[in-house]
Symmetry: C2
Subunit: 340 residues, 2 copies
């Protein structure tokens, strides 16, 4: 009992017009008389006709599909981003084809090839490093690429991030204002622009006031690595009295290690600051002071850049960085002279 698909031709016959007429009724911008439109709409309605997107894609070359490459979804920031991106794109008539890719260049390479096969109209990479060679090839193929939450040095790529350097600086200044002097940093993966930028801003922020980080350890955006780093920091001869952690995801592991592994109090023994402000950060168990990434604005900008490029062709790449506020919660002490 296969319910065969209705084609534009069948609608045309029923409406007593040509197939072209039907097509034009369903093609925004094409011209058709009010009478024709009415006839076609009626026939289409009765038959339950819906234009075939695949056939449409063949002709126009536009699939209205955006490829989204994402590394892993354990860090709550990514599901959140995925959900928002998907919704925002859906609202514009686009849909999201998800690809997971580890951060190995070969894997990314393979994924990108797949993506091109699908005739995606654009590619969004969420925190996945892409070789500039690859983006060049995509641009050559006329496929816009926007990197979400990851930049790329010296390459011509569209990138939307928060202002990570400034965020790092804010953390440094805030912790100094709280009276901390021994501040360590468990950084985001040094292979990522976000990790490097946050670190850089943080170090600059301390230096501006004549301080230096007690120690910096690469946490690799990994819970286990961060936990180990915490352990190492706290058992060293001079333990820190505050730790800036490269993202919330690691910060939670750090807090767990401090509390349940080392029996320390937050913020009395050590203050913790994270980065991202994922929903979990606001839950009472963690109540983590953190730099908020303005997800909504980042998503908006990403979608807007993407669609502009699709509609108007690949243009000069832009980089946008949104400033995000520091959200003070109870994982840090009250700043001096700061009122409740």
């Amino acid at each position: 009992m296969e319910h065969a698909r209705i084609t534009s031709l069948q609608v045309a016959e029923k409406a007593g017009v040509s197939q072209s007429a039907v097509s034009r009724v369903f093609t925004p911008g094409a011209s058709a008389s009010a009478k024709t439109i009415a006839k076609v709409r009626k026939a289409a309605e009765e038959l339950g006709y819906r234009p075939n997107r695949v056939a449409r894609t063949m002709i126009t070359g536009k699939s209205r599909i955006i490829g989204l490459v994402v590394a892993y979804l354990e860090n709550q920031f990514y599901p959140q981003a995925l959900e928002h991106l998907s919704n925002a794109l859906q609202a514009k008539g686009y849909h999201v084809l998800v690809f997971t890719a580890t951060n190995s260049p070969e894997k990314v390479e393979e994924v990108m090839r797949d993506l091109l096969d699908f005739q995606v109209d654009g590619i969004i990479t969420a925190s996945v490093a892409v070789t500039s060679d690859l983006t060049v090839r995509c641009n050559a193929a006329g496929i816009p690429v926007v990197m979400f939450n990851r930049g790329q040095d010296g390459a011509d790529v569209n990138a939307v991030t928060s202002d990570n350097v400034n965020g790092g600086r804010k953390v440094a200044e805030f912790l100094l204002k709280c009276g901390h002097t021994h501040i360590a940093h468990i950084s985001g993966w040094e292979g990522s622009s976000t990790g490097r930028d946050r670190r850089q801003g943080f170090v600059e922020g301390l230096e501006t006031h004549g301080y230096r980080p007690l120690q910096i350890i690469d946490g690799m955006y990994n819970r286990d690595t961060a936990a180990q780093a915490t352990h190492d920091l706290m058992t060293a001869p001079t333990p820190p009295d505050a730790i800036f952690v490269g993202n919330d995801h690691m910060a939670f592991a750090v807090m767990d290690t401090l509390r349940y592994g080392l029996g320390l109090k937050i913020p009395q023994d050590v203050a913790i600051v994270g980065f991202d402000d994922v929903p979990l950060a606001a839950w009472p168990s963690y109540d983590l002071t953190t730099v908020r990434q303005p997800l909504n604005r980042m998503v908006e900008a990403t979608v807007e850049m993407m669609i502009a490029q699709i509609d108007e062709g690949v243009v000069a790449p832009r980089r946008v960085a949104f400033d995000g506020p520091l959200i003070r919660r109870s994982s840090t002490r009250q700043a001096k002279g700061h009122k409740t």
Copy 2:
């Protein structure tokens, strides 16, 4: 400098064969001589040819795209499922087109229509209720539907879940064994099969031993609702000494409310059991006793069912439920007579 796509015709010319020959080389199961294959492969390699999936889809009617309908990604269980499903399908040459849908029937309806437009080969719904009317239409259109982590009463649908009834029963027995007598249940949404089944198993489990639940409140799979319910339960004249919460996501809110809102100790004042065993449940801050949903097996079964249906046509619907173990952690007391 648009890098035009290479077509099979160009490869054919370069290799000195017909377009059909090229097609056959790239179509598994088609016949071609070793010599032809070699010539075509070489030419294709040199030109960088890759078959156009869209054109392929037009002819074969197979897109090798699976639509995944998901409600929300805040509950960590879903990103996890999404990631695993996507990987498993990718390994089989399929890709995932993500749709978000709230649980309103109209929205789901609209999403499903969109999905059909994309010629998806199959649809997986993750914890989204689908009217049986809709699944019937999909089957009529020859599109298999598999419901992941949600069943449907009296309808002919493929469904993969864990054994929720049995899971609920296990929780009841475990809590009784721990010596609890006043056991409340903040249930999963009563509009979902998972919520109902867990509740049913739980009640049955208590009744088998001559007990009844102290109270049952629908937590709607929502943190705020669960928090409010916790408050109501604990401030009632007879508060519970244990609460079974319909999923981990709500259980975290319950624990936060108990500890930080009401100043109670877990498990001394109240024991908590969840359902799912998301990664967060194992983090020391929660360390939640919970029923594990065997995600890997569920994903495997889902993918296997899906692909079987795609390859062999829509067959008699199956329902699979995997038993999951109760994972004992510190949110509950030691069971009587149970050794460390």
